[in-house]
Amino acid sequence: MLLYITKRLLLGVVIVILAVTVLFVMIHLVPGDPARILLGPRATTEMIATMSSRMGLDQPLPIQILKFFGNLFRGDLGMDVITKRPVAEIVFGQLPFTLWLIFTAITFAALIGIPLGCYSALHRNTLIDRITGILSIACITAPAFVVALFSLLIFAVWLQWFPAVGAGERGNFGDQVAHIVLPAFAIGLSWIGYLARLVRASMLEVMGENHIRTARAYGLPERVVVFRYALKLAVLPTVTVIGVGMGFLLSAALFTEIVFARPGIGKLIYDSIITRNYPVVMGSVLVSTILFVASTTISDLINAWLDPRIRASL
Amino acid sequence: MSNILEVANVRVRFRSQGALQALVQGNSDPYIDAVRDVSFSVKEGETFTLVGESGSGKSTLAMAVAGLHKAAEGSILFNGDDVTTMDDDAMQTYRKQISFMWQNPVGSLSPRLSVGSLITEPFKIHGLKQQDLRAESDRLLKLVGLPAHFSERYPHQLSGGQARRVGVARALALHPKLIIADEPTAGLDVSVQGEILNLLNRLQDELGVSMFVITHNLNIVRHISDQTAIMYLGRFVELGDTDAIFAQAKHPYTLALLSANPEADPDAQINRIELKGEVPSLLMRPRGCEFHTRCPFVAEGCDQTFPPVHSDNQHWLTCHYPR
């Protein structure tokens, strides 16, 4: 087990290192000097050279990468060349907003989606199951930014039930809650459908397995069969899916943050791209990548821990 | 009569741990022996049968003979050429002369190909495209007693017995000298088992092909086999003429297997030799005689030294106290 955890963590680290390397290589392969792009067409050669050296771009690629990791190890993501603030400070200032948004969205989706999927599986081919099925597909297929636009249009502009922009006043919990409702809904809606379908399918599969027939053949009450014998197995795949889904969640968060002008790492990336602020783009893409890798790693570990079959084989 | 296949001291190993895990845990030998020190020969035109229970290594041995697993030690001579050291060209020639019948009748047929394409697959693989494939398909189907229109069918449209016949037809396509059959009757009903065994026997009589049969079903062995070997934990424990094995088996394991077969007669005298416990793990082979943990006749010395070989008159066994 320990070996497995170490292996899995090592793999995560290797992937992050490779990902950073890919980003660096991309910057280098792309025609055009980032410093020149940053400073615009009217910059002098001197200004570009100063900027290049300040960004570390004048050094060979391997040195740049090594330096970057050296700094990363100390929690230093470099300097924002425009505001002269440390990138780490900027990124970690925005990160909590995104994390809260994602966490709220996925909790809300799981609370509705998983029971819905269970119910559909247990009442297969009833009217409610059919309706849930179609609604689930409709939910899944709606892109997050379209949902965001419509909820903004309907609930914020027309009905004015919820505020349209920002994350709410600092320290005012009620205001913050009001501000998170629409964005979380926009991200979570497709996940309700997704989780409902996933749980339904895996529940149906588990309910068809021999050991469930055995449990019934021993006359166990249906409640015990469903909740103790089937549900535990049926929920296993959702852990993996949510772990891997972190990537989609981050992407969806980016759109919603922009639509609702809400602070967060997605909006940060977007804004820094508009202002061509490379160090910030790099830093925030890196942090979200680490976040994503960490969440897949954790979900793998949780899965291994939940399933005695995997646990034993480690 | 000469031997078409001579297997000597073959050992097949598998990794039991990944390289990293073995290194961490200080395991210097992360392998298990699925087949260990096995020797036998198949005479031309005869059938050699290997009997063993699950996990005995019998299928592994068959795969090694077919060149699918590498033997770690020993030699496998086919008409004098060693399969274990063949280069790609020699292996290709070898594979033209042998064929394999798989355990799962339907699962061993490529699901998207029609029966006609399936049984002419060997011609295509070996570049024999000048053959009239249509005629060959008809000939082969006729040989195994299926109507010619079966060539249009797909594997999932066949019953177990029919799929088995298609497997036989494919095995016969290139006039092989040796057929390796893994559990030829597995998954078939009793009434269909007979049909397949009759077919194999008829083909051997007509075509003179040699066969190497692997099975756990002792009942069928008597009717198809000339020589029989019994395998336990990757080793042969007894080997001899089939008649001799059935009439005067001497190894306790063989005796137990023979008697473990309930007769379809409620009044049958049951003289059963019942075995204790279960097959030990290959990771921890017992000391001394590897069968001693389950042997009903275990006695002094069985758990200490490896049993001696008794060999006379084509009957070979390893046991401290043969019956």
Binding site: A215, A217 | V190, L257, N261, A264, E278
Partner: protein, 322 residues
């Protein structure tokens, strides 16, 4: 007649399929006398699994029981509702399934599962655990208390089947249904399980309905035997009667075909040519007609009746009285 634990009368089971109504079981009659072991034998497609499914009332959703009754301890199981049926399952009637690897829940410990099925008893957890330990010991599992904490995959196939038997017998059922419990096991383990079943049956006094395709196992273990073919019972009687004086041509053929029976080395074994008829459009007359060497003219038109050819020996064949 009350000395039967289970009496099945005129039972039919149909499945609604895309190709039409599949008549999987047709007019089955079967008795399980108290304290005896009844074997059901038949080849694939004979309806053995459907028979079990209809007794424990766990049939697929598209199944329908148009006629017949299954009497068990004074109740007609067909008429019971799900709650009443559940009260019987695992209590006075238990089952051991074919594939031991998949019948136990993979993510719950053996102890948890064995305690769960005692949910009807008003005993403490410790008492229930003690009962399970005792049962595991009785099926020959070494260190039962320690192994209760383990998960199914940590046991070998033979051990898993022993655990299944322990679970089935834990509630002292009056009827144990064993669905090919030894098919997935090696011959030497099969013998062990058969002996275990026989021993437990003698000690606990339950009846066993034992389903198998292995004639030898039936002959050794059972008191009575029921031969099924294509969804019908073709012959039923004591093991001695049926095995020594098989009357239905199918039973005769089946006994001849078994390679184990043929002690003489033979290069040509007997077979039953032909295939099972399509059960969506069951042909008129006798179902075995197209494969029967003794078929007469009336076999293709008249359905043979359930006939007692000798006392206690029933058969459905026009030639039974000859």
């Amino acid at each position: 007649m009350s000395d039967n634990v289970l009496t099945i009368k005129d039972l039919s089971v149909h499945y609604a399929t895309n190709a039409g109504v599949l008549k999987a079981l047709r007019h089955i009659n079967l008795d399980v006398p108290r304290g005896s072991i009844v074997g059901v034998v038949g080849e694939s497609g004979c309806g053995k699994s459907t028979l079990i499914g209809s007794i424990i009332r766990l049939l697929a959703d598209n199944a329908d029981v148009p006629n017949g009754s299954i009497e068990f301890e004074g109740n007609d199981l067909i008429k019971l509702n799900q709650d009443q049926m559940r009260a019987i399952r695992g209590n006075s009637m238990s089952i051991v399934f074919q594939d031991p690897m998949s019948t136990l829940n993979p993510v719950l410990s053996i102890g948890r599962q064995m305690v769960d099925i005692q949910y009807r008893d008003k005993k403490s957890y410790a008492e229930k655990l003690a009962r399970s330990t005792e049962m595991l010991a009785s099926v020959g599992i070494p260190d039962p208390a320690g192994r209760l904490k383990q998960f199914p995959h940590e046991f070998s196939g033979g051990m898993q089947q022993r655990i299944s038997i322990a679970m089935a017998l834990q509630a002292n059922p009056s009827l144990l249904i064993a669905d090919e419990p030894t098919t997935a096991l090696d011959a030497t383990l099969e013998v062990q399980i058969i002996h275990l079943l026989k021993e437990l049956q003698t000690n606990m006094g339950c009846s066993i309905l034992f389903i198998s395709h292995h004639l030898g196992v039936i002959a050794e273990l059972c008191d009575f035997v029921v031969v099924m073919y294509a969804g019908e019972v073709v012959e039923e009687g004591s093991v001695r009667d049926v095995f020594h004086r098989p009357t239905h041509p199918y039973t005769q053929k089946l006994l001849q075909c078994d390679p184990a029976v043929i002690a003489e080395k033979s290069r040509h074994l007997p077979t039953i040519p032909g295939e099972i008829p399509n059960l969506v459009e069951v042909p008129p007359g006798c179902v075995f007609r197209n494969r029967c060497e003794q078929a007469m003219e009336q076999c293709s038109t008249v359905v043979p009746l359930w006939d007692e050819c000798r006392p206690g020996h029933f058969v459905t064949c026009h030639r039974a009285r000859e």
